[in-house]
Symmetry: D2
Subunit: 297 residues, 4 copies
């Protein structure tokens, strides 16, 4: 299939490589061109403009940093709305707000294009190995036509019906739960450390018993070792997602005090200078408040 | 081995049966005698008094509702401190405060007895099938001598060193994380429901991807189906544990805002009349606050 | 002076009457015309359109429900931007977001008009008696020219410099503190009531000692008597203001956990069916969570 | 009247001086004797032991740091229970837990003594000038007999009925509201500062309008100027009081999320090294989380 992949960050480039491996014709585009050129060796065509990338695509994938970037990639001059051929599919795979999701789906429909929201669970390593979990929502035939691409990028796709917003809400709810988990681990690790126990032994017990899930293991290890670099997913991205969760909650009138707490603690972590670290460094707020500062390196 | 099992609630009776199955000589005691007599058919001896149960025991297990019950079983008239033979082991398996744990261990030591704290992760079903996870801390040889019993009751034992308090802290930290998980699930389920999505489908996705842990599956299903009866672990017990977590945090000067939130929401659930339901009904606070009351049955 | 007053709710109509009393020529406009016509007896001219009201005004006052209403009154067709004469002053007196405040000030400047932000502290009664406190920020000469109007409407004006956003931030911070006070009173009243004390006696002590401020007296009495009708300021308006506070906090990266709490509790009060009541009914959330429901009337 | 004043901290010594000024015969006692001897110049008799101070007293006042100190002063060897003559009044004026208040009242009653709980609102300066507000609860005639003393120490006494616990609950609820106010001021000051406004001007507006109460002025000035020394009431005392509030709330099953927040933030302020500062330094948590650290001095 002819695929354009817009956005060549850690996630997008891994996904593009998986598509190439699966035999698709992939054109990549990135605002700073070097990141795109890195894919040439893998067989990707590098487009000079977003419009050029989209012009020949059956499916255009966006994997971008935030709402602003996706909005501009779709609605901006030379954006997907203008450039994608009629009948083309916009596979929106980054985490975006529910409101933008709705707005873009309507805009595409007005141009005879189709938007499928397909956000993912998984960090860069999962993208690089085709092990993402994909939440797909949009018109049934478009989801079906996207099937071979989704299979190349993920280990499993969860269909969520015709309304793209369903995928956005589900993805945001999942990210909220990751943030809640980090806060919980941060507080409990501070507790056991101040009682003289080993944080690593504690995480080991948790993840061998009640919480034997990879996400607990991964974040738990980072927190126990206070090792937040290199970041797989930086604090400001966590803050951005919590903002989107709370916006979705506000729109539907759902008080989420735990989401508020995670948002506030994430912002506090940034205010205290941890903005360059992985979201797991949210745990440092609990540690510092308990008088357990991060050791100098 | 000669074992006394003090406390024949849902947990204690399951554990006693596993010990009987493994060939140990088990004497059971319960304040209201009928619950103890239910074990006779399985081969248990029923003691008329706690002191009688303890008098011939090599190991006396306590599995009781709260600190008050354990304190009275040990320090009260006719309690373990008086009745347990010198050299006997008190295997304290219910969830108790860090402070009481320390106090009882010292009291036993003063009488030539040994206390091993051995709280467990697992609900009644796990107790009934010998699938508990056990956190064991206390003098090394006493833990070793208790080995055959721990093996009969649990699928795995995690040794936590010589200080019984270490097991108490770890257990409490784990229960806090369960409460935090329930709150997180409650809020996120309210969010997806108000956006028109299926709560069950949402839980299914979560527990097939990021949070593929049994505890998420079990609680997630209860919350998605708003099915909180019969209770495996009632709300007031959750509240009790959160109190103990916060007491341990206070003693070590560790601010735990998420623990505070879970405590307050659990108390709110009780204030709104859900006190007879499973702790999972904590999720109803988020639902009701979002204008999603529990359907009449 | 020739003044247009756009918005004839409880606040706007009281302010218009004070301006008339002070001898100004006042033209009033309201979307639903009846509310405006009520002012004719006091000597106001009633405009059929917003544009007509603004066309002859030296100063146009807006006192509207929310950002959307103000934005449309300024930027919409037949809005102030088009209708207000060059050199005219837009005195923006309702509570608006910091972002909108900045945006409108720039838009007016681009048309040779001037915006002065002049939000107020005070409930409808204070508006009706010219006892508002006014926070005024904008170009110095425009503030000075507005002086006679501000004096007619308020008991005191606080100048906050040239940047209109300063008045918006200050007003929002003040409203946040009112919400925080209500939450504090709600929780403490629930506490004393459950300990068998009289809520009214408690409020009386507080407001005779530490908290001898009118705002504590007014809200305290409503909460002690659980009397939330007729509403002076409805819950959804409180929610709206908390949203604006948190947006201003987010823009400046300031975690405000207490603001988050007040927002969440206000939303909960609405989810539980109190949306038609005064913001003071936020206190019912604490009461209900403590098992103290509002008595039937 | 013959009065013993037990505890000669900043509060107790000011109160003793007012009693001397009013012509009462005052015997003072303090664990470290120097503080007591400072009162000799004012005409106080200094007792070598607590028992000696109480032995000749009609009324014994306790003004001590915490529950432990008061409990030991009453129930300890040579304590009030033994030393105070039958018919004597124990005027318990420091802030103590509701539970201890109940326990001590019963103990005194068992010895033919009377306890009146009479906690106060006011900082050391108010104690030194006889301007305290006093909450008095206990048997009516004992309150009446204490009247001349209460008048000498305070500007007004609020009678709260026969149950001493009523005074304890009311006092704790008031201190909770002070903590809530500090947190609110801390967050709002951080907000206005990050928007480039003057914190002092902001506090000035607040306390000239909505919140024209001395307690807002006093704490507001400290926060605006980030001046937390010398402490009038140190952070650990604030933490202690919040603990007592939450214990009273727990006993009556009242969720108080704002009290939880203030407790957690106060503990965080201590964890970050502000334990020697005034409780107002709680505001530094909000400031630091917003990236506004306290300037070096």
């Amino acid at each position: 299939m002819d695929v354009a992949v817009i956005g060549q960050g850690q996630m997008g480039s891994g996904m593009a490589r998986q598509l190439l491996k699966a035999g698709h014709r992939v054109t990549v585009y990135n605002r700073s061109r070097e990141r795109a050129q890195a894919l040439e060796a893998d067989g990707a065509r590098v487009a000079a403009t977003l419009g050029e990338a989209a012009a020949t695509a059956t499916v255009a994938i966006t994997m971008l940093a935030d709402d602003e970037a996706v909005e501009s990639a779709v609605l901006g001059p030379d954006g997907l709305l203008q450039a994608l051929p009629a009948g083309g599919i916009h596979l929106a795979m980054s985490t975006i707000s529910v409101a933008l999701c709705r707005r873009l789906a309507a805009a595409h429909a007005g141009r005879g294009q189709v938007m499928v929201a397909a956000p993912v669970f998984g960090r860069p390593q999962a993208a690089a190995s085709g092990q993402l979990f994909i939440l797909a929502a949009g018109p049934g035939d478009a989801v079906a036509r996207s099937g071979p691409l989704l299979e190349a990028m993920g280990q499993r796709t969860f269909p969520l019906g015709e309304d793209p917003a369903a995928a956005a809400v589900t993805k945001l709810a999942g990210n909220f739960l990751i943030g809640a988990m980090i806060e919980g681990l941060g507080e409990s690790v501070a507790l056991v450390r101040k009682h003289g126990l080993s944080a690593s032994a504690f995480i080991d017990i948790l993840t061998s018993t009640l919480f034997a899930a990879p996400v607990y293991k991964g974040y738990g290890a980072m927190i126990a070792e206070q090792r937040y670099q290199p970041p797989g997913f930086r604090l400001p991205l966590g803050l951005k997602d919590l903002r989107l969760v709370l916006a979705a909650a506000d729109a539907a009138q759902v008080p989420m005090p735990l989401a508020s707490l995670v948002r506030d603690q994430t912002m506090s972590a940034m205010g205290r200078g941890h903005g360059e670290l992985d979201w797991a460094a949210l745990a440092e707020v609990a540690a510092e408040n308990a008088g357990l500062p991060m050791p100098e390196r």
